[in-house]
Amino acid sequence: EAGVAQSPRYKIIEKRQSVAFWCNPISGHATLYWYQQILGQGPKLLIQFQNNGVVDDSQLPKDRFSAERLKGVDSTLKIQPAKLEDSAVYLCASSFVPGINIQYFGAGTRLSVL
């Protein structure tokens, strides 16, 4: 079974530039999560999708971050414009509903904003 795929693995940009991350969840997983993990901290949920609908985006900085999940499969997270404090690892995870929603994580994208 293929795991959660994320790209790119690394990204370096200058502040005020735009960046996009892509995630392909495990086939059949209805729920998709995007997390921000700042160095030395635990993952913080940014947005949660159920199929192609948003379940929770309460911690998403909507003035600069956006995310979509077209057709309920792949998802893209965008930052526009980026700030220095956005430097972090962005993790994507997916889970199968119903039951205990064990999350399966991708390897993440490490973003450095200079």
Binding site: Y33, G42, V55, S95, I100, I102, F105, G106, A107
Partner: protein
């Protein structure tokens, strides 16, 4: 709001010995799930063990076991016969009925040969 607290930023253990990582959580929900995830330097989070809050029996997965104290809202992880491959960041997490996860700040485990 839910919070998960890991009070040990760093821990170390001798190879083949036992170590316990602490976690406390706070939730107003009666039904929830608890998890321990491992994050090696490769960054990919891997599930170690999970516990349903309605179950009194502590979960066990090979060398990994938990001590779940529901009244105290405590969920510690015990690693027996520690191996070099156990070295990683360990995150405690709580999942509510809305399928939202809350993670702790992590404990960095070093295994000494």
């Amino acid at each position: 709001a839910q919070t998960v607290t890991q009070s040990q930023p760093e821990m170390s253990v001798q190879e083949a010995e036992t170590v316990t990582l602490s976690c406390t959580y706070d939730t107003s929900e009666s039904d929830y799930y608890l998890f321990w995830y491992k994050q090696p330097p490769s960054r990919q989070m891997i599930l170690v063990i999970r516990q349903e809050a309605y179950k009194q029996q502590n979960a066990t997965e090979n060398r990994f076991s938990v001590n779940f104290q529901k009244a105290a809202k405590s969920f510690s992880l015990k690693i027996s016969d520690s191996q070099l491959g156990d070295a990683a960041m360990y995150f405690c997490a709580c999942q509510n009925t809305g399928n939202q996860f809350y993670f702790g700040t992590g404990t960095s485990l070093t295994v000494i040969p």
